[in-house]
């Protein structure tokens, strides 16, 4: 059997007395697209931070390709946050060139001549893919929210990450633009054979985009000590793009709505 790209074995995450996540057991194969929903504050971002390596597990094991996940961010795991994902002091194309700059210029972080030209050409191709080639020389402050998020995705993809982590990347965008972004992410997912974890507050987004939906929720509540029990993945729903499953998911919707609300 192939090794899962991500595997959680009895993972707990606690901040002091606050149990945020408990007994998480999961495995995700390469190429899966997992949408994550759950009530605000239940630990979705915390889980993503564990995958990023920004936070470490309190108990249990988190494995990346069968090995303990490194305790700092690395190039095989790209990320797009809700905001602050692009660098305000660099133009759009410079933002996208950044991973090449880091790879080729360890000391001055600057490319010259042929190398620069090559990185520029590749960055422009990527910008074209996300529909930003017309804004290549603008600074992020001059871009709309949707354009900034597209730029952030383009920038992350240049490093060719195996895993892409998305923490409510479209939360701040209006519905029309969000639809376009869904199309883009779906297309990039298939083109680049990515494994995607995407947090969303929008249930239909979760259903329509991925092939798997996780619902984070506390299975036990203690009214006196709300911090005593952590959240788990209470539903792990496979989503196939065919009719039967769609009706299945339609049945599930009220149940999930209840736990997310």
């Amino acid at each position: 059997m192939a090794t899962p790209i991500i595997q959680a074995k009895d993972v707990w995450k606690e901040y002091g007395d606050n149990v945020v996540l408990e007994r998480i057991n999961l495995s995700v194969m390469e190429g899966e697209f997992v949408s994550i929903v759950g009530a605000s504050g239940c630990g979705k971002s915390t889980f993503l931070n564990l995958l990023l390596g920004n936070e470490s597990v309190s108990r249990g094991q988190l494995l990346l390709n069968g090995d303990i996940l490194p305790n700092e961010p690395g190039p095989e795991r790209g990320i797009v946050f809700q905001k602050y994902s692009v660098f305000p002091h660099l133009s759009a194309v410079q933002n996208v060139m950044l991973s090449d700059v880091f790879a080729q210029s360890p000391f001055v972080s600057r490319l010259f001549g042929k190398e620069k030209q090559q990185a520029y050409t590749q960055a422009m191709a990527m910008l074209d893919k996300v529909g930003l080639s017309h804004a290549a020389h603008k600074y992020p402050a001059e871009l709309s929210g949707g354009m900034q998020q597209r730029l952030a995705i383009a920038q992350a993809l240049m490093k060719k990450p195996k895993i892409l982590l998305l923490d409510e990347p479209f939360g701040a965008l209006d519905p029309g633009i969000r639809k376009d972004m869904h199309k883009l992410v779906h297309q990039l997912w298939q083109e680049h054979k990515l494994t995607i974890f995407m947090i969303t507050h929008d249930l239909s987004e979760g259903f329509s985009l991925g092939n798997r939906l996780w619902v984070f929720d506390k299975h036990r509540h203690d009214a006196q000590h709300p911090e005593r029990f952590g959240a788990q993945v209470t539903y792990d729903i496979p989503i196939a793009k065919d009719i039967q499953n769609l009706s299945f998911t339609e049945d599930m919707k009220p149940v999930i709505d209840a736990s997310v609300a």
Binding site: K83, S99, P106, F107, P161
Partner: protein, 274 residues
């Protein structure tokens, strides 16, 4: 009726309104000076405009009888070079230490308490120590400026570095950046416009320390001259010197602002003041 808080003067009105207080001050001065000079033609406290013209002519446009130098020029160059050295060295130290403190916990642990302690020492209180240790030459004056402004600049830049969104630092690492690359490509370029702001804000203190040091031990310099001729109650020289210092400070501030707007367009676009 439009509310007062929503009424805005036109460009020309704003200019005239801006000039008005200065004109009022000058007129008031001239009236007071006139009144005193009528009483006592030898009065030194509020000299007439003509005495200022004479004094400026003497100091700025005629070589000194003793040394053959143009005194005001020599004083200005001496003061400005001390100021530039003090502020320049402070800015460089502040950039390096501030960013290192903000980014590297193993630098911050030993350095941050030291910087805080140093910033609490009143610089003027250790001026005698500087004179004893570094002598009465240029070094002790530059040192006073550095000790006076550097700790504040370091703390400011450290806070600015801390205030960078952690998302950016994480993102850089996922793009393959090393610690050094994160600092040199992500942090420093975003801190540079803040450094210029820090310099603009501390320039006033830098002048204060410069003039204090020059007043005590120097052979030339704007501060030295003012305190030297104070003995002769030469208001006709002191006042133009004070105005000249203020003008220099104003021009420096203006130049720094223009430099920042020119060099960091992205920053001023984001701030909405380009």
């Amino acid at each position: 009726m439009t509310r007062l808080i929503n009424k805005k003067p036109s460009r020309i009105t704003r200019l005239l309104l801006g000039l008005l207080p200065f004109i009022v001050l000058i007129v008031l001065y001239m009236m007071a000076s006139q009144a005193r000079l009528v009483d006592n033609p030898n009065d030194k406290l509020l000299p007439a405009m003509s005495s200022f013209v004479d004094a400026i002519n003497r100091m700025a446009f005629e070589p000194s009888r003793r040394s053959g130098e143009y005194l005001m020029l020599a004083d200005t160059l001496a003061s400005l070079s001390r100021l530039a050295m003090g502020v320049g060295i402070s800015a460089l130290i502040a950039l390096i230490v501030g960013v290192a403190n903000g980014m590297v916990p193993f630098v911050r642990a030993p350095l941050s308490p030291l910087v805080t302690a140093l910033s609490l020492v009143p610089p003027m209180a250790i001026l005698p120590i500087l004179f004893i240790v570094f002598g009465l030459g240029e070094l002790s004056k530059v040192m006073l400026i550095i000790i006076g402004i550097c700790p504040i600049m370091i703390r400011d830049l450290q806070l600015r570095t801390d205030a960078l969104p952690p998302e950016q630092i994480l993102k850089a690492q996922t793009l393959g950046a090393s610690s050094w690359q994160t600092i040199i490509a992500i942090v420093v370029p975003q801190i540079l416009p803040k450094l210029i702001e820090a310099v603009r804000l501390t320039l006033g203190s830098a002048w204060l320390f410069l003039i204090a040091a020059e007043a005590i031990a120097a052979t030339e310099g704007l501060g030295y001259r003012i305190f030297l001729i104070r003995r002769y109650l030469a208001m006709d020289v002191i006042l133009p010197y004070v105005l000249w210092i203020s003008l220099l400070a104003f021009v420096m501030d203006w130049l720094l602002r223009k430099l920042s707007q020119h060099a960091f367009t992205w920053y001023h676009t984001a701030q909405g003041d380009a």
